[in-house]
Amino acid sequence: MEWLYILMPIAGVKIFWPGLIILGVGVGIIGGFFGMGGAWMVTPGLNILGFPMAFAIGTDIAHMAGKSLISTMRHGKFGNVDYKLGMIMLVGTVVGFEAGAQMVMWLERLGSVEKVVRWIYIVLLALIAWMVFHDVAKRRQKEREAAAKGVKLEAGATGVEWHKALHKIKIPPMVHLKEAGIYCSAWLPILVSFLTGWLAGILGIGGGLIRMPALIYLIGCPTHVAVGTDLFEVMISGLYGAATYTYKGRTELVAAIIMLVGAAMGAQVGAVATKYIKGYGIRIAFGLAVVGCAISILMKLVQPWVPQYKALLDSGATVLVLGLVTCMSLYIFVRMVQGVQMELARKRAN
């Protein structure tokens, strides 16, 4: 079975390459569907396959750039990418990310910040999960109220509408974002992306997990456009990240390419699956992914209080993340197949 293992030229470790393809397919599907890079899923997966941590991050970013490129192209064809919004947000993201990263370095000089950062992450994830499920509950309430009046709720109706209050701020220059169907001050996406970038910089993550809900709830993007536009940002930041990590010798390109074989195909499946799943279906699945991510981090955080369970909690967190990747990618794949079957049946009937 030696042929199933490949020696990584830079890291110098032997890796089970079919595992890389399977991991790539799973995170590719989820990434293309939710519009995020998914570092929180890939890093533990690569670690299990035997990657040193330092290489896991760089390799993840390199494959992320390739997979988000292909998902952006697919979402672009569906009209899900607002390139103008993406470019405007890039300004805030880059500046915010740099500010966040500098702040962490400054805090590190003051003392250990790792634990604090993880707790902030937990609070943030809890807030995002609350936002998503609060929105879903509100939308259901509106549906019930409309049904009681004997009318049908319009297709574009949303639960929470915080963005409407933010759109009332009319500070020039004003921008019209065609794909997102928004007319607002350019400062709104800049400010939101600065905040999400700043948080991502502090937490040391790509930011898709924060940016996607921010695009929906603060800027007012429809879910599909939020997914596509976020992927456009992930693509650009991923390419930049891949370049810097590779230059610093932290990328194992052979592994990234093997993963990309699966991820590029998976990303297409994930992007096409958004065609068959309602915006609120995507939001609910995203909320569940956030909850899973929060629990896995929590399992790492409580270890100092229960050191006797450290090994159990470590394995539990990894099993949880990988189980989540498997279940979610299978769910998305099955829903896509069902959608395709219906579409083909409709075509045959016409």
């Binding site: 830079i10 192209m73 697919r74 064809k77 220059p173 810097t244 590779t246 610093k248 932290r250 297409q268």
Partner: protein, 98 residues
Amino acid sequence: MKARLNKLWWSLMLMLIALPGTALAAGGGGAPVVIVADTRKLDGVLAWWANLYNESHLQFTVLTIILIPLVGVIFGVIADIIMNHIGIDLKSRDLAEH
């Protein structure tokens, strides 16, 4: 006020363009993980790849940045062809938030 805000807007744009250069000038963070890759057990493409890494990190980086999108597009297009062949409409979607 409007002129000032517009000025601030363009300053931010300029900052974004100049930022990567500034970051490169700063020289980056930690030390490289592997300074010289061990090529003794490698042969063929893998040996060439590791040698390229040892000779020039810059060339290695440039090639990485070219290869990653290229491989992504190639396999993405293959997936496209398969899905087209199945008969999936890859150009439009109807669903909104409902």
